[in-house]
Amino acid sequence: MNSKPKADAATKATVSLPTKNGITLKVNGAVKQIEIAPWTTLLDALREHLGLTGTKKGCDHGQCGACTVLVNGKRITSCLTLAIMHDGAEVTTIEGLAEGEVLHPLQKAFVEHDAFQCGYCTPGQICSAVGLLREGKAKSPEDIRELMSGNICRCGAYANIVAAIEQVSRMGERGDEE
């Protein structure tokens, strides 16, 4: 799960290897079939093959959290995992949280608390927060800070991010149930 194909691995592959595999993902409720190279990360599958660019790439090595999505309800950094390992899984990205025009409670709380500046970390922060609330482990602002520490925000909107999550957590919101 934590093994990341080296960028070079892609370039070294020779023509004789089977280069494409078909997989099925249920993304934001819709069933999608894609043909991808086996070393394609879930992040690249979402961005490059499914056109879901809401999920961001900040480092491609699990160091920033910008690529966080929910796989079968659990938050993961999608750059650190291969798409092929999730054949058949349900994936929720930032594009799948609102219901039409109605924002997800966390999205609403992020606006209310001004929990972002440039917004590049925001999709990852929100997906991570949905996963966090579902885990049910965050009891206090300190817990939230600790358990959200994998999601970097260089603009430093942390205080507002934590406040937004806390508010939703107090509302008893368990996150989006897909």
Partner: protein, 753 residues
């Protein structure tokens, strides 16, 4: 009166662009889909200083999906870029000056092929001895990074007679401070996309400075400016780094020469390797005071490493010298600040242009002087801080909006409480400390013209469109500018449509740097809004057959003051003006009042206004592990007027986060640091409680009294934390960052008798 509706200036408004960002729909440069785009990868130097003997691209050309390899010879125009000095080749020609210098650019059908081709290119080098130390670079006979010498520049500031004053001083403190290279680590790695639209080259860029990009790309390609259009994509932070060209020149070159769309996205490693850093400075600081704590003199000498290219080095050099005293009167002063080229990574603009570094020194000095005099840190600052009528280091008389004292007063109760609490908390190896840090910051570029323009358009349906070239990189300028226009026009900010940072549709607002957009672009927008308002009032008075002085703007119409029924809508006015053949677009302009600095003495009026701030930091220091926890930061900022208080709070909290990184953890080691794996920036878990306090000492020339806060937010945090660590340990750290080892060492030396 209905003229200034509530809910506009000083009120909470939703950030422009919020919804797209929350829904994952904002288009950052790497998100823009053009399936036929070619992918670009640069071949970068692995040598710090070497002559290029040859570039063998033959193996790359055999890779089937590789389309073309570009080298310096392919650059059709002037192969030099740089905002202040054109000293950086887009693609290295004769030699490379640092690791990461681009030598060739590969265009291929797929990213994989581009990478493979880049790896297949062989560059033959002949090494030249390399320089990694600015002092060495300045020695006679040192190898030359650039043909005209290794000195980037020197700025001196001279006032009074420091030598004589030192002789009469009661206390003199002399110390040397050092700071490290820092990486901006904006979360969005640089990216861009270029394509030809007829004969126009269009580039979607992650940028802070679209109108500068336009000029440099045009000159690179030998095109006229009008043939290049830069559109700022949603930009994931910049903090100064995205003032320089990143990928714009590359995507422009490829799109133009191949006549195909071209995209380039840096990996995090590439962004670390080849984008500018914060200048590491060595600051020798000597300052003196008399018995009652009044500062008498300072002698400050700064040497910094500007790396391979000029970037914003000249601006940093000036700013460091002019801010070297901090917000304190110093009648006798000598400052020299020098930057030298080396073969290290280029250092450029990073939030504060050298002021965070120099503030660390001047604030440490203040505490040292206070300690020598047995005075409290707060008291010595109160005794010396600027007030109306004070003369700055450049001899500029401050005539208004000098809120430094107010920021000190604002934190005083918390400071006293924190000191009491610290005295009551003694627990074995965990020590508590409280520190204070103050600063001033000149808004706008230093001692030179730096105008902004903006336009407002009245549409036939009565809508108002704001056109501004000011790149919003997350700091919230678009929202603030819309608020300013709305306030003047009696509208709500949501009623203003914004067109931002597109060189075809907007005119230049100058760079998003130097905390200048609220003040300078804000004034330009206000100027345009006043012109539009003038027309609205005049036309409405005529249409209503009513006294011009007795009509007001309200919710998109103009009405008689005492008779709400007598009104005409903006739409009616627009249609009438249109019929009369009047243009419906107004230009606003503002250029702050500054004068150039005297070359020898540094005297002059470098900035039209200054922001001020004071932070109080509380820390706990584990004397066994060296771990410092920042527990609370109280941050008082004189912003003149907070147009968008929530945005100001956001800037302050973000500045504190960056300040914590600067103080405690961030260090980019050239040749070693690769990515976020070995460059740690603060996470949520590192954050203290932050208590922002907005102080409003209105700036008479500011829009609604506003100044700025983007960079000031960061400046006082590290000094306050370092002073707090010194308070906790009784031993001071002079080198940043104060990482575990340095703190542990200090703790150990504190234990020695």
């Amino acid at each position: 009166m209905g003229d200034r509706p509530a809910g506009v200036i000083g009120e909470k408004v939703e950030r422009i662009g919020s919804r797209e960002r929350l829904l994952g729909k904002a288009s950052f440069a790497a998100d823009i889909d053009l399936p036929e785009a070619v992918h670009l990868v640069a071949v970068r130097s692995e040598r710090p200083h070497a002559r290029i003997v040859g570039i063998d691209v033959s193996r790359a050309q055999h890779i089937s999906e590789c389309l073309r390899v570009f080298t310096a010879e392919d650059v059709p125009g002037r192969n030099r870029v740089g905002i202040i000095r054109k000293d950086q080749p887009l693609l290295a020609d004769d030699k490379v000056r640092c690791i990461g210098d681009p030598v060739a650019l590969v265009a291929a059908e797929t990213l994989e092929a581009a990478r493979e081709a880049a790896a297949a290119i062989r560059v033959e080098y002949e090494d030249i001895s390399a320089l990694f130390d600015p002092e060495e670079a300045l020695r006679p006979g040192a190898p030359l990074v650039h043909a005209d010498g290794n000195l980037l520049g020197r700025r001196t500031v001279k006032r009074g007679n420091p030598e004589a004053a030192f002789k009469h001083a009661d206390v003199v403190v002399e110390r040397v401070y050092t700071t490290a290279h820092l990486e901006h680590a904006y979360l969005e790695p640089d990216a861009g996309l270029g394509y030809m639209d007829g004969s126009t080259l269009v580039i979607h860029a992650s940028t802070q400075n679209p109108h500068y990009d336009q000029k440099d790309v045009a000159e690179l390609l030998g095109l006229d400016e009008g043939s290049v259009r830069i559109i700022q994509a949603a930009t994931g932070g910049g903090f100064g780094s995205k003032l320089d060209l990143n990928v714009q020149g590359f995507v422009g070159l490829a799109a133009y020469l191949l006549n195909r769309p071209a995209r380039m996205v840096y990996t995090r490693e590439e962004a670390f390797l080849c984008t500018p850093k914060r200048h590491p400075l060595t600051i020798a600081y000597k300052s003196a005071a008399n018995r009652d704590g009044r500062l008498l003199a300072a002698d400050i000498r700064v040497v910094g490493d500007t790396g391979a290219y000029a970037s914003y080095g000249p601006a940093v050099l000036n700013r460091v010298a002019l801010h070297a005293t901090g917000p304190y009167e110093l009648p006798n002063l000598f400052v020299e600040s020098v930057l030298a080229y080396t073969n290290n990574p280029t250092a450029g603009a990073m939030r504060g242009f050298g002021v965070p570094q120099i503030a660390f020194a001047h604030e440490s000095q203040m505490d040292l002087l206070a300690a020598a005099l047995g005075m409290s840190p707060l008291e010595i600052r109160l005794r010396n801080c600027y007030r109306i009528g004070s003369l700055t280091a450049s001899g500029q008389e401050l005539t208004g909006s000098v809120g430094i004292r107010a920021t000190l007063d604002a934190v005083a109760p918390q400071y006293a409480a924190a000191v009491r609490e610290r005295n009551g908390t003694v627990s074995g190896h965990i020590r508590r400390g409280v520190g204070i840090g103050s600063m001033m910051y000149g808004i706008g570029n230093t001692g030179q013209q730096n105008p902004a323009t903006a336009h407002l358009e009245l549409t036939l349906d009565g809508g108002v469109v704001l056109y501004s070239g000011a790149a919003d990189v997350g700091q919230g300028s678009s929202t603030v500018l819309a608020q300013i226009a709305a306030a003047e026009l009696g509208l709500q900010p949501e009623a203003i449509r914004t067109v931002i940072a597109d060189t075809l549709l907007t005119t230049s607002a100058g760079a998003t740097s130097a905390s200048r957009q609220t003040y300078i672009s804000g004034n330009a927008v206000l100027d345009a809004a006043r012109k539009l308002k003038e027309v609205l009032l005049t036309e409405a008075a005529d249409m209503l057959k009513f006294d011009r002085a007795k009509v007001i703007l309200e919710h998109g119409s103009v009405r008689a003051v005492r008779d709400a029924d007598r009104s005409v809508s903006f739409a009616e006015i627009a249609r009438r003006c249109h019929k009369l053949g009047m243009p419906l677009k107004w230009q606003g302009f503002f250029d702050p009042d500054t004068t150039p600095l005297d070359l020898e003495t540094g005297q002059g009026v470098p900035y039209a206004t200054y922001a001020f701030a004071t932070h109080v930091a509380e820390v706990s220091v584990d004397t066994l592990t060296g771990e410092v926890r920042c527990l609370r930061v109280v941050a008082a900022h004189d912003v003149g007027k907070a147009v968008n208080p929530q945005g100001v709070h956001g800037q302050i909290c973000g500045g504190v986060a960056m300040g914590i990184g600067f103080a405690l953890m961030e260090e980019f080691v050239p040749g070693q640091t690769e990515s976020l794996k070995d460059y740690h920036i603060p996470s949520a878990a590192d954050m203290p409680e932050v208590i922002p306090i907005i102080v409003e000492d209105p700036e008479p020339t500011g829009p609604f009294g506003a100044k700025g806060v983007g960079e000031p937010a960061l400046v006082p945090t590290a000094p306050a934390i370092l002073n707090a660590i010194a308070d906790a340990l009784g031993v001071r750290i002079y080198d940043l960052p104060a990482g575990l080892e340095r703190v542990l060492q200090a703790a150990l030396s504190a234990r020695k008798p």
